[in-house]
Subunit: 163 residues, 2 copies
């Protein structure tokens, strides 16, 4: 759906790939959002960019869906799809999924307070682009903190110096 037809294969040019990732990611999230609204289904998407940066979408939120997976998983009859040769993997996938989801549950319990806080915070956020701004903001703040601490350290040293 662009100026020209493209093949579905790894985009070689790094810059183009980055652009494609960004555009299609937001497209995917939008579609997911529409689906969840129109059909009242719960759904979660988690992804890691080529550079391993995590992104996720959830309706009503990722955790809720993950929790549901936990409940359902044991001897699940879920309909699974994946992009590699499907047949053998499905059984294995189900097994592994059980383990992982159990672990996830444990993890969730450990950081319950934090998780809840995060969940609350993230509950009603919708706009994808704006969120990336938030992330940037958070990053900027942290960076600034580091610099500040460095300055403070310097100040401390200075104060200790005999005049």
């Amino acid at each position: 759906m662009g100026r020209r037809k493209i093949e579905i294969k790894m985009v070689k040019d790094l810059n183009t790939r980055q652009v494609t990732f960004s555009k299609r990611r937001s497209g995917l999230f939008k579609k997911a959002n529409e689906l969840s609204i129109m059909c009242g289904c719960e759904l979660a998407i988690v992804m890691f960019s080529h550079g391993n940066k995590p992104y996720s979408y959830g309706h009503p939120n990722v955790d809720a869906v993950a929790a549901k997976v936990l409940q359902k998983e044991p001897n699940s009859n879920s309909v699974q799809c994946n992009s590699s040769s499907n047949d053998e993997k499905l059984n294995k996938l189900n097994e592994e999924l059980n383990d992982i989801m159990e672990q996830t549950y444990e993890e969730a319990k450990k950081g319950e307070a934090l998780d809840k806080a995060l969940e609350e915070k993230k509950k009603e956020l919708e706009n994808f682009q704006d969120l990336s701004v938030l992330e940037e903001l958070r990053f900027n703040i942290k960076e600034r903190m580091n610099e500040l601490e460095a300055v403070e350290a310097m100040l401390m040293i200075k104060e200790q110096e005999p005049i």
Copy 2:
């Protein structure tokens, strides 16, 4: 993208909803597959239909992605999105920003000057009326960083002063 424009809202007719769910679900999975191939990203989708039937898609598979989430999750800084009315978006953004600022505040307790600046920022955040303010905030942060550099420069000069 059909014979006529439709609103994105819960489809009332059960039959139509079922059809929509089926079509859009496969569309979503297809898009996900394209994205993962074109951009080399790992991604997983899990969903529950209105009737609670589970469906999932994963590249390379759901487990691998879930496992990756586990590694990252503790104090994750993942970019999260979820769906709900835009109305509440700003409030929640504010909350998130406030939380971030609070965390930052804790980390920065040592620096009084900075603390004050942060307090001011928090107040500003509480007055958010528009997302464009985010940009302002970012700008302000950059400005603060400049101030910081100025302080550092002064320190450097001070150090050079004969005692």
